[in-house]
Symmetry: C2
Subunit: 80 residues, 2 copies
């Protein structure tokens, strides 16, 4: 079973990396880019075959290791 975790900064948290990407796009001539934010994507291949159990386990992984819940929010997507 595959799981994908999308981790991004919470609204209101400054994102200097996103700002840098925004400036680089502007310098390359791309106009009309109002805002850029960068996050992380983590793909997990799990042995578990129960979607509910997988979601619970991945949620625990996010809380303990994958995301810094003080400044980051995460979304879990279970596939297959």
């Amino acid at each position: 079973m595959k799981a994908r975790v999308y981790i991004s900064l919470k609204n209101g948290v400054l994102d200097p990396q996103g700002k840098a990407i925004g400036h680089a796009l502007e310098n390359l001539g791309f106009t009309g880019v109002n805002n850029v934010r960068q996050g992380k994507l983590i793909e997990l291949d799990l042995a578990s075959s129960d979607p509910e159990e997988a979601r619970r386990q991945v949620g625990e992984m996010c809380e303990k290791l994958l995301a810094n819940t003080v400044i980051e929010k995460y979304t879990i997507e279970i596939a297959e």
Copy 2:
């Protein structure tokens, strides 16, 4: 218009960052994690209101700056 870009390493490209996350999860007692791969998530807020035009523009951004197409693949998602 919002666009999300998911960038991940192509299959076959070694992912030491993903491996490190996998080992850390194992050390924390999570079992049954076969494989972990880490990618990037970039959220763009675009002035354009035409989905087709937005997709074309973001594709160009990926080719020129956001993704290293030698080792990375990307997926574009246009919302709103």
